[in-house]
């Protein structure tokens, strides 16, 4: 081993010591969004459905002002309030989808990666079948056939995340179950369940959990895409739906870009934070592995 290579490892070790200011900024934003999502009904916000017609300003939409920070839409509804309300569905769907994906996909992936054999062949084939659909196409197909509630949309997006999560979990498990410490555990007489829980899971779960944030970003974007196309949760306010409303007609977009742009900004910042924090976490955990 050359010192040159060691040196590269050490460089990475710096990143490990601290996650950095950017990471905490992102975590802060996500915390804020989470707070908003949970407590919107309790916050002193304008009603998201009420029409704030103001005869002195002529016909809505009204531009951003003190009264309406993000302006109003064509029906004079407050965009700020609606955008905050939109956080709820986006984050709930994103979170529950990725949780479902991790629980099911992660379990199946670890089991098939550890035992291999027919379990692995079957699950791998199921994963490949699921991955043979472009995810938005499969999401559209499924959501079009069902009653679109918060639960069902989450389930559909959860289903979509099973295969990618499962494949990653399987690959990570394969990589570790060939390591000598697993062989060592087996030869001290450890049972399979013990090996999976004590030896494999700690190694697989930590890097995988850093992927959870990245996965949640994907789910939030997917939900946004569905609601933009009018195929997400039927009742309720979503960021995708708000953006669609503001950009449906070129005239609206030209005259009142704020209707779309504020929800876009919120969505963008949230996805950016998820991606950035997830990426930092990933390098944070990868590095420990690499310095070994």
């Amino acid at each position: 081993m050359s010192v040159v290579a060691n040196n590269a490892g050490d460089e990475a070790a710096v990143a490990r010591k601290k996650l950095g200011f950017g990471f905490w900024l992102c975590v802060g934003w996500l915390g804020l969004m989470l707070f908003v999502a949970v407590f919107t009904p309790l916050l002193p916000l304008k009603s998201p459905t009420a029409n704030f017609l103001d005869s002195s300003q002529g016909r809505p939409p009204y531009a951003p002002s003190w009264k309406h920070w993000f302006g109003t839409d064509k029906d004079a509804r407050d965009v700020f309030s609606r955008t905050l309300h939109g956080a709820r569905i986006s984050l709930t769907v994103g979170f529950s989808a990725i949780t479902a994906g991790f629980l099911i996909g992660g379990t199946v992936g670890v089991i098939s990666g550890y035992f291999r054999g027919w379990i692995d062949r079957v699950s791998s084939f199921v994963f490949v079948v699921l991955l043979s659909f472009p995810s938005l196409v499969l999401a559209i197909l499924l959501t079009s056939l069902i009653e679109r509630s918060l639960l069902t949309v989450s389930l559909v997006l959860g289903l979509l995340s099973i295969a990618p999560v499962g494949r990653l979990a399987r690959a990570a498990t394969l990589q570790y179950s060939d390591r000598e410490f697993v062989l060592a555990a087996r030869q001290i007489g450890a049972k399979d369940r013990h090996i999976i829980i004590k030896e494999i899971l700690p190694n697989v779960a930590i890097p995988m959990s850093s992927l959870a944030l990245l996965g949640m970003a994907v789910a939030v974007v997917a939900e946004g895409g569905l609601s933009f196309l009018g195929l997400s949760v039927e009742k309720g306010i979503t960021w995708g739906g708000l953006i669609q409303l503001g950009s449906d007609a070129s005239k609206t977009l030209e005259k009142a870009p704020w209707i779309s742009f504020f929800p876009i900004l919120m969505l963008f910042l949230t996805v950016l934070s998820l991606n950035f924090a997830g990426d930092r976490l990933r390098t944070f955990f990868d590095v420990k592995e690499m310095t070994l």
Binding site: F125, P134, S135, I140, I146, G224, N275
Partner: protein, 318 residues
């Protein structure tokens, strides 16, 4: 050889599974008649509806058991008979709608893929060779921004900036225009799809090139006295392309997904926007056909990518 045969067999198996899943979803989730006809299915007093119900039952052999229906539908499908669309009057064959719109989507996706590849490779090469420097960090941040921008939002922003405010690009797609102006009209929609994907490609390829640059054989190439550019292009690029190619293949799915959004925003009558319209109109023969076509082409593209892989990496050839 054995490898190719196995891969093709797997692809055929996959296509069967995909078609079963699609067909099954339409027939198991809810009432198939409703899935085909929408509200019309319940409207048993209207003579027009009754006629449609009868056509639908006949067309889809709804009185036969599910496996038989599947077999019948599949044999029609492989022969290019996708049934008739129900939601419009006159019930034109689905294949007509598709053959009119599919070429636009293919063009759009191909253009997007081309943009993504053409942007990402030089971008990755330049940033990887300056890894850690300020320019590299700025570019990494840019890539992050692009990746974090959902394509529907990017579509709205690009449309606002380039079509509405700057007026550089046409607002709408005109199907009757000559092909050159249609291509021009597709630039913005294709960029919408391609830009975030380019950022994904760049991040991946940059990492892989950096890993390759740390390999011993690059050091050996340096000791030969080769120039940096030559090392980068001749020695580092090709061994770094393996996962890039796989990801380019896998991302075709994301591009098709992107085309659904992009076609909707820029009002291009391709199969993506048709899919959404048909779903909203409950026109399921069209939905079924489009989902099948998209999934099949995706499977076939990945098969081709696997074969391309063997061209790049001599170690895989047997």
């Amino acid at each position: 050889m054995r490898y190719y045969v196995q891969r093709v067999a797997l692809a055929i198996l996959l296509l069967l599974a995909v078609s079963m899943l699609t067909f099954g979803a339409l027939n198991v989730l809810g009432d198939p008649l409703f899935n085909i006809l929408g509200p019309v299915a319940g409207d048993v007093n209207n003579p027009d509806s009754i006629k449609m119900i009868e056509v639908a039952k006949r067309e889809f052999s709804l009185d036969r058991p599910l496996p038989v229906r599947y077999a019948l539908w599949l044999s029609d499908f492989v022969r290019g008979d996708f049934g008739v669309t129900f939601s419009s009057t006159g019930q034109p064959p689905v294949s007509g709608v598709i053959s009119e719109r599919l070429p636009r989507t293919v063009t759009l996706v191909a253009m997007a893929q081309m943009f993504a590849i053409l942007i990402s490779i030089p971008w990755a090469l330049i940033t990887a060779s300056r890894a850690g420097k300020v320019s590299d960090r700025i570019s990494t941040l840019n890539a992050f921004f692009l990746v974090a921008m959902p394509n529907f939002a990017l579509a709205v922003i690009l449309k606002y900036v380039f079509s509405i405010k700057l007026g550089w690009m046409p607002l709408t797609f005109v199907a009757d225009d000559p092909w050159r102006s249609r291509l021009f009209q597709m630039i913005l929609p294709a960029l919408t799809i391609g830009l975030p994907v380019a950022a994904v490609y760049q991040r991946l390829l940059r990492t892989d090139i950096i890993t390759t640059l740390q390999q011993d054989f690059i050091l050996l190439a340096r000791t030969k006295g080769l120039s940096r550019t030559r090392i980068l292009l001749v020695h580092a690029l090709r061994p770094s392309l393996f996962s890039f190619i796989t990801v380019v293949g896998l991302n075709t799915g994301a591009l098709i997904g992107g085309s659904i959004v992009s076609e909707t925003v820029f009002r291009i009558p391709g199969i993506g926007s048709t899919l959404v319209e048909s779903v909203l109109r409950n026109d399921f023969p069209v939905v079924l056909a489009i989902v099948m076509i998209v999934a099949s082409s995706f499977v076939i593209i990945n098969l081709l990518v696997d074969f391309a892989y063997t061209l790049i990496d001599p170690r895989v050839r047997r």
